[in-house]
Homo-oligomer: 208 residues x 2
DNA sequence: CAAAATATTAAACATCTGTTTAAAATAGTT
DNA sequence: AACTATTTTAAACAGATGTTTAATATTTTG
């Protein structure tokens, strides 16, 4: 009865790496099997189909995708502090997982991928009370009036796009990896200053 | 001798639509053939292989990708004016071609896609003299000190990511297309204000 | 240990993949 | 008109694809 979890887990880990690197339609079941050192049939034995295995990986990737936001927004801090720390943590996390943002975008844009119930992930962010905190700050005129949609989008754009575009940037500016890292580090600082001074104009004026 | 250009062109147009919608590994030669109303063999008759046809489409997509920048930066305007008009034009163009940014990112991140000579496209932007104009403005202290890398990245992030993420946003915020469009229109205004006030702090202070 | 349940394997399956071939249709040339 | 070059077609190709099968090995249970 007690099954050896190591094979199932090994397949899942290999699948995660392969799917995130190449996307659903960019890889085969056999490639995942080989990467995990297992048989092709075992993949379907444990996960029934390529699609079901993918759905599993995708959801866990979405979890990671929103995890930093949930974690930072749950802390007991002022909004500018949360913003600064979030950007810091996002850049830190994405430096370790630079393929994640483009994977998420690629797969949410793939048709035939029906199960786009990303609302659950967003709800976790809402549950941190961050948007309530924003409304209150806006009432006290400590924060610029801005919708949830635009606020979320400003943050994600400036945190995720730099990592998604790293290969394009390398090609366009003729950079190698070792040149890219410090540039992204500088970019983090720009993004931090940019967003905080835009969202909290008075406070950032006082700080200067 | 005189060949009917219509079939070749029809295949290219179908290929463009299919490739951009589904990516290189997300579609088949037969799908492109069917979309153009032509035979499978004709695709290879005119373009030799799926890869060569793709390369053609990709390059033309990269052309479109950088076209707005080249066009706006070539005008005889001040930097804040160029910035404002660029954002305006980018949002206008991408509203008509929302799939383009994620296509470019997806394909520049696909390994086995060797030919990443995106430098040529970037050179066209450099040739507009925009970066020289920035250096001069920075010397006159009319513009914040910022590297080409970070400046380019700030602009592209805030213009392209909103369109790349539209399906994710729709899923996360439970929006439909008709709700998305006005939100993106508002976002354009935020991005414009955000970037101009950050890059040209003194001037935008005078304007207020 | 024997029986039952679970895990693993190699092989087969039907279909799809990119590409090629060789014949047929069409257009162009003399 | 006949001949040549070009375009289009259906069919075949070899290999890859997701998935299933049926037999074997291993573990768990009584």
């Amino acid at each position: 009865m007690k099954k050896d979890i190591s094979t199932e887990e090994r397949i899942k880990e290999a699948a995660r790496a392969v799917f995130i690197a190449k996307g659903f339609s960019g890889c085969s079941t056999r490639e995942i099997a080989k990467a995990s050192g297992m048989n092709v049939a075992l993949v379907n034995y444990y996960f029934r189909s390529k699609s079901q295995l993918f759905q599993l990986i995708f959801n866990s990737a979405m979890e990671d995708f929103t995890n930093t936001m949930v974690e930072v927004f749950s802390r007991d801090l002022t909004l500018p502090e949360k913003m600064r720390i979030l950007i810091e943590k996002e850049y830190e996390f994405l430096s370790q997982h630079p393929e994640l943002p483009s994977f998420i975008i690629q797969e949410t844009n793939r048709e035939s991928n029906i199960a786009h119930d990303n609302f659950g992930f967003f709800q976790k962010i809402v549950d941190t009370g961050i948007f309530q905190q924003c409304v209150e700050a806006q009432e006290r005129e400590e924060m610029r009036k801005i919708d949830i949609f635009n606020l979320t989008l400003l943050i994600i754009s400036n945190c995720h796009y730099p990592f998604m575009s790293r290969n394009m940037l390398k090609g366009m500016l003729k950079l190698n990896d070792s040149q890219l890292i410090p540039n992204i580090e500088i970019h983090k600082k720009h993004v931090s200053d940019l967003l905080i001074s835009y969202l909290f104009p008075k406070i950032s004026k006082n700080e200067e």
